[in-house]
């Protein structure tokens, strides 16, 4: 198993390296792709280093990244605070679902980005507008998957808990919430993916800093190298955050991870 894992990593890195080589070859001086449309890898790298140190449209790259992370994590976190309890409660108390779910179903088909004009109207182009849009984008997966997490619990476990003397409240807190944890980790990942892609789009429409804001300005200024730096950062941060959430499963729900500890 250790060997196939090493092989897998080597193959993945090799593939990425191959893409960079092809990229360099296509964009070499006198190559088929003009650098205005697609700058060479070393130019992009140089731009990345420069942006890391010097401000671009108002902020250095780390500050743009922090601006984006601040919005996405706030919106995602607030959505979790609402979505998890509401989702679990709706799955647990049918009547609450009857009341809340129709409204939710009505709102759900509206793409999060379609909220942007309204939030700009209400909140201007400040942070709160983008946080609201990210919140809406993250709320749907948080809530739906929290409901699913409860529905997918084997009824037998609830029966077992009852025969062991647990009351409804104890079943909810001790059995339902804990058993739902692995699904909630998956929910966190989906909500973050949704939040992240919405944020970048929201920054394109209304922002004063952030990676999406960098991207749209770079495009207008024909700074293709900056655009590529921004896009790479968007991708890498997305992977990084999803990876971190995956890691939390190890300590939040160790039983659900294959080859859990044995001592």
């Amino acid at each position: 198993m250790g060997q196939s894992r090493t092989l897998q990593v080597a193959a993945s890195l090799g593939a990425i390296l191959a893409w960079i080589v092809i990229w360099a070859w296509l964009t070499r001086p006198g190559g088929p792709v003009p650098t205005l449309y697609f700058p060479a890898p070393d130019d992009v790298w140089a731009k990345f280093v420069r942006m890391w140190q010097r401000p671009y449209i108002g902020s250095t790259l780390p500050n743009h990244i922090l601006a984006s992370l601040y919005i996405v994590l706030t919106g995602w976190g607030l959505a979790a605070l609402v979505g998890i309890p509401l989702g679990i409660a709706m799955a647990w108390w049918k009547r609450l679902k009857w009341i809340v779910f129709p409204t939710f179903q009505l709102i759900r088909p509206v793409p999060p980005l379609a909220w942007i004009p309204l939030t700009i109207l209400w909140l201007g182009i400040g942070d709160s507008a983008r946080i609201s849009v990210v919140f809406i984008a993250a709320l749907v997966p948080w809530l739906m998957n929290s409901m699913l997490a409860v529905y997918s619990i084997d009824r037998l476990l609830l029966d077992a808990a009852k025969t062991l003397g647990a009351n409804d409240h104890q079943i909810l807190t001790r059995v339902v919430c804990r058993t739902a944890l692995p699904t909630l980790v998956a929910a966190a990942r989906m909500a973050l993916g949704s939040a992240w892609s919405t944020l970048v789009a929201a920054e394109i429409l209304a922002a004063t800093a952030g990676l999406g804001y960098v991207a749209v300005n770079a495009s207008q200024l024909l700074d293709t190298d900056v655009l590529l730096v921004a896009m790479f950062m968007i991708g890498i941060l997305g992977i990084g955050m999803t990876g971190l959430i995956g890691l939390t499963q190890n300590w939040l729900a160790p039983w659900s991870v294959l080859g859990a500890r044995r001592d």
């Binding site: 037998l156 029966d159 077992a160 009852k162 025969t163 062991l164 003397g165 104890q170 804990r178 001592d263």
Partner: protein, 278 residues
């Protein structure tokens, strides 16, 4: 319930007439869905389990055995009839009637010791008492080295040991077991059958045990209730000898005893009629 080994009985006498009824299922009928339209799972079943008695219910698959047990445990309301414990309406499920399920039903997010302590914590047993009873059960069921494992790390046999420990730790007045060994391999099943037999002999649990295995019924039961195919009715009740040597030994040895063979033949004949006539 003192039992002197070696004495043979014909098996038709009532061997514990002095014991009061502990659990009574009185004229239980159960419909899933509207009466007359839905599934008629159980029809007018009455079973009396006396204190310290081991009653085994056998019947073909799908005849309503599990339904009868969930009603007995209070997990389902009967359509007709009632469940009594000590002559009084049994009420909602609770630790006086511990249940062992065929599919173990362990909490996947809890370790072995957390699973076993679950019911004690739910019912407010003191922390020191919890530890004492946990240690006792870990020892009885041979689970000491697995106390910090999660159920998903254990074999089926070990998982069912945890489930039995989790039920016994509540010191239940009544133990309900629904095909507890049905999902286990043959060797594990044999060992657990012998352990349950030993537990019953030593601790005098009151047990309602469900199975589709005639051998298991003859080996474990003080009395065997044979059910008809769905809707499950009681076809025959057979008293088995209780104080005989073959019941206290290994199940393979028991299975060679002429008395065992005779009861197995009789009960299997009754069950077979229900399967063949489907």
């Amino acid at each position: 319930m003192e039992q002197s080994a070696g004495k043979m009985t014909s098996g038709i006498t009532d061997p514990a007439p002095e014991s009061p009824a502990k659990l009574e299922l009185c004229n239980i009928s159960k419909w899933f869905g509207p009466e007359g339209e839905g599934v008629h799972a159980v029809d007018d079943c009455s079973i009396e389990v006396k204190k310290g008695e081991f009653i085994v219910v056998v019947g073909p698959s799908g005849c309503g055995k599990s339904t009868l047990m969930t009603v007995g445990a209070g997990l389902e309301e009967p359509t007709h009839g009632e469940v009594l414990v000590d002559g009084k309406p049994a009420g909602p499920p609770g630790p006086t009637r511990s249940v062992v399920f065929q599919k173990f039903a362990l909490f996947p997010s809890e370790t072995v010791e957390q699973n076993i302590k679950f019911g004690l914590q739910m019912t407010g047993v003191s922390a020191t008492e919890q530890e004492t009873r946990l240690a006792e059960q870990l020892k009885i069921m041979g689970l000491e080295q697995f106390r910090r494992s999660y159920p998903s790390e254990l074999s089926g046999g070990m998982q069912q040991r945890v489930a039995i420990a989790r039920a016994l730790v509540m010191q239940p007045e009544i133990l309900l077991m629904d095909e507890p060994f049905g999902a286990l391999d043959a060797q594990t099943r044999t060992i657990l059958q012998e352990e349950v037999q030993r537990l019953h002999r030593e601790m005098h649990y009151t047990v309602l045990f469900i199975t589709h295995s005639v051998e298991e019924a003859v080996y474990l039961g003080d009395r065997v209730v044979v059910m008809t195919r769905r809707p499950g009715r009681i076809k025959r009740v057979i008293d088995l000898p209780r104080d005989v040597a073959w019941k206290t030994g290994d199940i393979e040895l028991a299975a060679e005893h002429p008395e065992f063979i005779e009861f197995r033949r009789e009960i299997w004949g009754l069950v077979r009629e229900e399967i063949v006539s489907i």
